[in-house]
Amino acid sequence: MTSVTRVYRFAASHRLHSPLLSDERNREVYGKCDNPYGHGHDYVLQVGVSGAVPETGVLCNVEALDGYVEDKLLRWVRDRNLNDWEEFGAVVPTTENLAMVALRRLSDGWRESFPAGPCLARVRILETERNSVECGL
């Protein structure tokens, strides 16, 4: 089993605050991350693809992957506020939810863009050097 993982970086801001919870409960659950003005991170995104290595020895055309990830994700997130995404109206942009949304955005249209493979296998997002969330298909 071979997988290839490409690493990307972007800076974005967010506020962890659920409209379904009281202000007090938000503060309890999200702590400092509930600060009304939001705050930001230098996120690291890892996109992993997998499949059988073809005769060329190249499982993943890195240039094509870079273009795809830029188009589907990075241009929407770079230097933006995550709370402005339609997915994060009622859903709080925690790293867990961001990883799931990122995986969903990348899955949508994957097969049309990579008909001969590889498969999208997983997304990992590092919020800081010490926190990361991985979400697989």
Binding site: V53, G57, V58
Partner: protein
């Protein structure tokens, strides 16, 4: 339980097939197809899976693991032009995918005697932005 040991080597390679035209090579491998080669500081992470020995508390002796990685990979690969000096890369294009699989093959034979640990994964970092994982042939 999984234990992972890191190592690094610097080597040059060219992603180039002699049986293809220069145009076709450039189409598939891009700038990496320059037959004169270019280099990377490769990093590898070798992961073994096993249970700690009840007496020593170790899955495997990490010094021995370091020596095995050194003998099988670092020594033969470090400061070499992979295509010209390290078989099978005279016939197999040294893409990171193929290098990871070759490192697996070299190490796997050293970890295939139960009850010792088994080789679980080889991760090859070609640059800080790209790595390949190989965990053996698909079953």
């Amino acid at each position: 339980m999984l234990i992972t040991r890191k190592a690094e080597f610097s080597a040059s390679h060219a992603c180039h097939r002699a049986d293809w035209t220069a145009e076709r090579n450039r189409e598939v491998y891009g700038a990496a197809s320059n037959p004169r080669g270019h280099g990377h500081n490769y990093q590898i992470e070798v992961t073994l899976e096993g249970e700690p020995d009840p007496v020593t508390g170790m899955v495997f002796d990490l010094k021995t693991l370091k020596d095995v990685i050194n003998d099988e990979v670092v020594e033969p690969f470090d400061h070499r032009f992979l295509n010209h000096e390290v078989p099978p890369f005279d016939r197999v294009v040294p893409t990171p995918e193929n290098i990871a699989a070759e490192i697996w093959r070299r190490l796997e034979r050293r970890f295939s005697s139960p009850p010792g640990p088994r080789l679980a994964n080889v991760r090859l970092w070609e640059t800080a932005d790209l790595f390949v994982d190989y965990s053996g042939p698909s079953r």
